[in-house]
């Protein structure tokens, strides 16, 4: 194709491949209005509701015993779920990116399944699996192990719901990076673990961080699945989102928004980290 742009004055070309000013401004306005309505307003109403009555009331709401129990339980769940799913993510990404094997496509598409399944169905699956009417129920009862309507059940459904996050960040990243650097390191005599630690890990650092942050945010916010398995025992099996629901249903709106503001803060931090990781990535591509 000959260069058409050379034959046409620059201004005409710009006009032909862009929109009139009024179109541009109206489109920007429509989009900003839509996003304000759906993103900015919900965000503002949470923060307004949380701090409307002053910092003191906010502080009382988030330090009240049931709220503290909910925060502690949520953090406890995170400490188990996030490392496990991070290890799984690294392991499966290593297998998929560094090796060729049959059934790889199938394996990768199975990872996506937890995203497609309704959280409520996830909860139900485990109630049936572990519950007193379910498969392991009678055996568990005999040995006096409680999973459903107890903390282990909450951990398991959140583990399931956040399973894909780290894996999905790392698989494309490690596939793109290939295996040349690792092979070089191994050929030069470094051990497998050493190669992973000093060659692979620095390369996947930001993707891993972003995956962990996403997994973290989803784990703290998981609601539908936890609602089915938790039994909502106050101070015992209420995670932060469930505690918010309880407060809201008891018309304690300020307290509900106060606890919500903590999770909202976390959501905003998640978004900032995502933008930062993307910015890093863009710069790397430009310098490379």
């Amino acid at each position: 194709m000959t260069d058409v742009s050379a034959a046409i004055p620059a201004k005409t070309l710009l006009k032909a491949t862009s929109e009139p000013r009024w179109v541009r401004y109206s489109l920007i306005s429509i989009v900003l209005l839509f996003l304000s309505l759906f993103l900015l307003l919900p965000l503002s109403v949470v923060l307004y509701g949380a701090f409307e009555a002053g910092l003191k009331v906010w502080w009382q709401a988030v330090t009240e015993p049931d709220a503290v129990a909910a925060i502690k339980l949520t953090l406890f769940v995170l400490v188990i779920v996030v490392p496990l799913n991070a290890i799984f993510g690294v392991a499966i990404a290593w297998a998929v990116a560094k090796f060729e094997f049959r059934g790889k496509t199938l394996l990768v598409s199975i990872i996506d399944m937890p995203f497609a399944i309704s959280p409520v169905v996830v909860g139900l699956i485990f109630v049936i699996f572990f519950g007193s009417h379910g498969w392991l129920g009678p055996w568990l009862q005999q040995h006096d192990i409680k999973i459903i309507f107890a903390v282990p059940g909450i951990v398991i459904v959140i583990l399931f719901g956040t399973l894909p996050f780290v894996a999905r960040e790392l698989i494309p990243l490690m596939q793109q990076q290939g295996k040349d650097e690792e092979e070089a390191s191994l050929t030069l005599g470094a051990s497998g673990w050493k190669t992973f630690w000093y060659v692979t890990l620095p390369n996947i650092k930001w993707g891993l961080i972003y995956g962990v942050v996403l997994c973290n945010a989803r784990a703290m916010g998981e609601f539908g699945a936890v609602a089915v398995v938790s039994g909502r025992i106050r101070g015992e099996t209420n995670t932060m989102p469930l505690h918010i629901e309880v407060l809201y249903n008891e018309y304690m709106f300020t307290a509900a928004f106060a606890v919500s503001s903590l999770l909202t803060g976390l959501a905003l931090v998640t978004i900032v980290i995502k933008s930062y990781v993307e910015y890093k990535d863009e710069r790397k591509h430009k310098t490379a």
């Binding site: 759906f38 290593w94 399944i117 409520v120 699996f129 609601f223 539908g224 089915v228 989102p241 933008s275």
Partner: protein, 278 residues
Amino acid sequence: MATVVSRTVIPGFGLTLGFSVFYLSLLFLLPVAGLLIFTLQMSWADFWRAISHPQVVASYKLSFLASFAGATINAVFGSLTAWVLVRYRFPGKKVVDALVDLPFALPTAVAGIALVTLYSTTGWVGQYLQLWDIRIAYSEIGVIIALTYIGLPFVVRTVQPVLADFEKELEEASASLGASRWTTVRRVIFPALLPALLTGYALAFARALGEYGSVIFISGNLPYRTEITPLLIVAKAEQYDYQGAAAIGVVMLVAAFLLLLLINGLQWWTNKRNGGAA
């Protein structure tokens, strides 16, 4: 089943694949199989009765239509948002771009109470709509609003990269051949975006279909009117009607699986269109 095809010096194949398959089987395949086997123990008549009860059928209709409406709104405004974010410059663009991910990051229960507070008759938005006799909270429109919110990032994030990679030369060629700007957008740019747009549409629809937390507050859960299907599963589980819940759960699983197949197909089409890149 898995065999290494090419030789490599890299270690850890057995360890990483073994652990991944073990983890996935234990956490995912086994429990899902448990649900299916549990449902198979029901007689066909019981299963059919559970999934075809009028209250359940009403919930399918609402879930399906409201998800459809939400995904359609997102297809239109999501494409516009992607267009504006890629093609135009305006102050605060980076912040707006980052905020698009909010529905992914904000817990659904928080979104749920925020939306109902906004759209109730005393809320910031609801009080003005009430003047025109429009009720959003505790109505079907409320369900659509929540499902639009939850699916908002999908279309933007699938269309945005395709639009950013779109070759400007094609537009210039179209313009130099005498096409008006509108014709170029309609006949040159839009067809190139279509696979990505449909992928985003299907993802938003699939997410909306299973959504629970952001909907149940604003919907008010009126039987036969504003009950979504996931809510009925929770209600049945809370009444210890596990068979009824499992039957509806299987219907939702099948729907999710079909949508996933569709999405994979669409993604394959998108990649083919973009010459195998991405």
